[in-house]
Every structure is written in C-alpha cells, then in structure tokens.
Symmetry: C2
Subunit: 334 residues, 2 copies
C-alpha cells in the first residue's frame, strides 16, 4: 500500500514521518514555515511547496499536521477553506482533546483521526529527523462518534503499513489520561525530585551521595525543561488530577510512617505489575468488520488493551490483537 | 596501612567488606548467625568464629556491624559487656540516627563512627558479595560531639586505604535527611508511579503506551518492594517530611495548572543542577589538623560538600577536597 501524503511542519516528527513515507515509496508533499527547513526536506526527497495553501492544493489523500500544539488552531483555520473534501486530516501531537477541539471548531472533525506516535528524541528540527524514528513504534489513534470510517481506515492503513506501527485505537480522553500517567506525571515527578534537592539545606551532601536510583529517577528532568513544561501544560487537566492523586497518596504514606503503621498496602499495591506481566499473557488475533457505531466499540476494545495490527479497507475491517483472559487469578496485566 | 577488623554479619555488604579487606592484606575475623554463611566466608579467607562473643574477644581494632538495622540494638547490647576498651565500632547501615541511638544506649557511643557505603546491588547474602562492590565507593562517615578522634581516624583510615573510598564526613541528621532526598523518596515516588497506573481506569492503555520516561522512573520500584519498605521505614521521620514537601509542591503545581498560571518557577527551579554543575567547578585539597571541637567543624565542612580523601593518624590530620567558589554567578553545585 502506498499513497500521497501532505506533511504540515517538517520538524523532528514531521520530518521523520516524511522521510519514512518517502523511503517506503509514498509520494510526500511538505511545507514548513522555515525556509532552510524546506531546503533540507527537499534534499531528502520531499516535494516541498512554498505555502500552506499550496500544500492543501497538492492533491494528497492524507494531511498530517506536525506543527507544535500552539500552532494547531491557526493552521487548521487556514486549511479548512482550501482543503479538498476528499482529504483526511491527522496529526502527531502528544495530547488529543485540544487538537480535536481545534479541528471541530474549523468544521473538519468528521475526517479527522487523532494520532500520537510513541517515539521521539530529546532533539528537535528536521536535521534531527530520522526515517527510522517512527518505524515499528506504538501509535495511539483516536476517534470520536463522528469519525468517518474511510478516514480512519486510511490513517490506520498508513500507520500499519508505511510505519509498521502497532495501533492502540482509543477515545481522546482515554489517551490523554493514560499519557498523563505514563509520561507527563513521571516527568513532573522527576523535576520535583531535582527541586527538592535544590531547595534543601543539605543540598550539597544530597548531590554528593546521589546514586543510581536518583540518576534514573531524574534523567528525564535533566535536559531543558521547556519540552516537559509544554507537554504538561497542553494536558493540564489530566496531569493536574493525577498530581492531586499522587499528593494524596504520598501524604497518606507520610501519615502512616509518622503513626508507625503498616505500609504494606502502599508497597504491595503494584505487585500485579511486578509479577512478570506480559510474559504470562496469551493473545489472540481477530478480524473485526467495522459497522455502524464502530467508533465506540473499537475505542472500548482499545481501552481494554486491544492493538490494531492490520487494515483491510476493501472489507472495511481491521485485525486486532487482544489478550485472552489468563487462568491465573488476579493477573490483570495486558 | 593494614590492621585487624572484625565483621559482624556476613551478608552482601558485610561479606563484601570482609573480602575487600582480605584482598587488601588485612586480617579479618568474621561471624554470622547462619552456619552455611560462615562456611562460605571461611572459604573466602575470613577467620570465622562460631559466636559473637568469640568475635569480640578476637582482638580486632575495628568492629564493623553489618547486621540488618532491626538486629543492631540486640547486637550492640550483646557486644557492650565483652568488647575490649580499645576496639572501635562502626557499621554499614543506610540510616545513622537509629544506629547511634542504639550504640549510645549500650554505652559505646564515644568509640562509634557511623558509616554508610553508597554502593549495593539488588541481591543479598554472602553468595552475592564481591570484593570490588565497595572499592572506590563514596562513604558517609558520621560523628557527633562525643566521637573519639582516634576512633574516627581509624575508621576513616580503613575506608580511604583498604576501600579506596571517598568520605563525606557528616552529622547523623544531615546524612539521614540527604539520603531521604536522593534515595528513599525517589524509591517511594517510583512505587507511587506504578500504583497510579494499577489504580487507574485506563490501566491497560497506560501500560501499553508506557515509554522510556516511565521505565526509568519506575525501575527501582519493579523489584521486590520489601527492601524499599525497610529503608523507608528505618528513616521514617526524614522520609515523611520530604514526602509532605513533595505533596505540597505537586498540589501547588496542580493549582497553577488549573488556574492556567505560569509554571516557570516549578520547571526552572533546578536549573542550577542542569547547568553542567561539577564540570565547571574547581576543587582544592587542604590538610586539616583535628583539634578540640573537630567533630562539629569537620561535619560542617562535610555539609558544605567537603570530601575526606586521606588520613594521617600520626599528625592527627585529614586531607579534604573542597570546592572553590566559582566566578560564575548563581552556580551553586558542588
């Protein structure tokens, strides 16, 4: 499967996506507001156009928004009047609800499929992009009740074929809550561990005695904090809620320690994640034809851990990999 | 420099210390309550005795307590009546105030020097011990106003020579507060990150989307939680205080996010730790003769980041490596 994709924004992720598609034999038209970036992309085999309007008119069947979240709203406002009816819209942002809000405001929501490839580096810009960066990654694809089936099959087909991606089909809110837990909150907590040491009267000693647990726990906070701050701010509501849960749990543990009580419940709670997890699970592959109401059903299977591994557009079906219930009682890991 | 050391408890740390000393040409007498452990230690060149009382009578000049913290009090109670006046007492526990309390209660505090080598593995027992585990490590050595100078010079001499250790001379409370910040709280926070995912309605998705930041941030929580629980419980007061600070900061950040306020202060606070730190610092080496009141003066220099790198027992002096103030404004990293 190949096709014609337009990429808006040729930074680390947009540039990597464009290069992957070129390498896989797809036709790629690209645009970036930065002229030197456009030059680099042209050298890498991207058909570069000088304006966003020119990109919209290039005839691509899928348009990938790869601009920073703060630029999404203005970009879709400019695209809406010039984008052909047949074009599908997707993106690569790390949060999905704010993107869909912007797309809906521009009247493009039916043909929008949210996408978030779970890959990246600490660098940025086309010069840091890499045709292998997104290959084989896990991708979240998000839908809502209005999502057009053809649009979803087009994007899921591109991800599973050109990117060899494993797709988690999800509702926007489920995606945003989950990435708050496994990405944004861990970044905040790592930052807070550094802040505690900086603010301590024994800061010099703490730095001197710091060993492996501290280095690992703070690694993601040691580079420039601007990217972390942007991710956290973009997903503020879910991050805020999870931080309040974290604070509540830490205060409860402090109370237990001060009262000389049992801390077993705190330390044993995650035993299900320590018990080997995926090693013991059995998965099955099923083909699912997407009928009316497919959006809710597919997102619900995704919430339970289903992964979409292939698309058959002609049959309007997808192939899902799902965990079978295991005979071990209490094993809830997918 | 060599000498005769008695090691009480031949597990991972006691066994490693004993093997290091043997390899460095020291005479080592050892005891452990477990008979098979005594057999392993004997094969490794340790002069093993069958009873704790026999160990006390063996004539060692330094006795290293390497028993679990819960066994420290009963062990020093048994040692106190049989230990020769000339023997110096030290230990390897990860918290120092509770050990000194037990040693003081047994009347042995003048000749006790607290010690905590900043090294370890996730294994335990003599079979996991290694003569290289503690070599070249950073060690905290703690003193209080009653500490005998000869005792301190003996322990610091052993650590800097046989173990090639770099010593942070500290007050007990400073040590315990610092390790709460760089070891115990990071372990708790890693555990909480796992707990959040386990307790979430989107747990399966979160596990599926987890990437590098989550793996790094939870690594130390993924093995058996019993060791973390013991460390945290042993240092409950400092850990509890630091957890309350953490919770306060996280709630403040959540409030700021909910109010759409500026999060710059939170994300920039640790910039001093990100700015290259030690790379830009200049250190000087000074010899310090330890006179009356040396305990407070040395611990205060240690609190400010001084490291003890050598001992001259005949001159009653130590060699310290200390950071020079740097010309860069705002660079506070030692």
């Amino acid at each position: 499967m190949t096709g014609h994709v337009a990429v808006v924004g040729l930074g680390l992720i947009g540039g990597s996506a464009a290069q992957t598609l070129v390498a896989q034999g797809w036709r790629v038209t690209g645009w970036d507001p930065d002229a030197p970036t456009r030059g680099l992309a042209r050298e890498a085999g991207v058909e570069v156009v000088p304006t966003l309007e020119g990109l919209a008119a290039a005839g691509a069947s899928i348009v990938v928004l790869a601009v920073p979240l703060r630029a999404v709203r203005s970009t879709v406002e400019r695209l809406a009047p010039v984008l052909p009816e047949s074009a599908v819209l997707t993106d690569v942002a790390s949060v999905k609800e704010p993107v869909r809000d912007a797309v809906r405001a521009a009247g493009l929501d039916r043909r929008y499929v949210g996408a978030h490839p779970m890959a990246g580096t600490e660098h940025s810009g086309f010069a840091a992009s890499d045709p292998e960066l997104l290959r084989g990654a896990r991708w979240a694809l998000t839908v809502d009740p209005t999502t057009d089936l053809e649009a979803f099959l087009a994007v899921a087909g591109m991800v599973t074929s050109a990117f060899a991606g494993v797709v988690h089909p999800l509702a926007d809110a489920v995606h945003d809550e989950a990435v708050a837990l496994v990405s944004h909150v861990p970044h905040v907590v790592a930052t807070e561990l550094l802040n505690l040491v900086v603010g301590s009267p024994v800061s010099e000693v703490a730095q001197g005695l710091a060993a492996g647990s501290f280095r690992d726990g703070t690694r993601v906070a040691r580079t420039t904090p601007r990217r972390t701050q942007a991710m956290v701010t973009d997903n503020a509501a879910w991050v805020s809620a999870a931080l309040r849960l974290t604070a509540r749990d830490l205060v409860a543990l402090a109370d237990t320690l001060d009262a000389n009580g049992s801390t077993d419940a705190f330390f044993d709670r995650a035993d299900v994640l320590r018990a080997g997890g995926a090693a013991g699970e059995t998965r099955q592959t099923v083909e699912v034809v997407l009928d009316d109401g497919w959006q809710h059903g597919l997102a619900e299977r995704g919430r339970q851990g289903a992964r979409l591994v292939a698309v058959d557009a002609a049959r309007r079906s997808v192939v899902l990999s799902e965990a079978l219930p295991t005979p071990q009682a209490g094993s809830a890991e997918a």
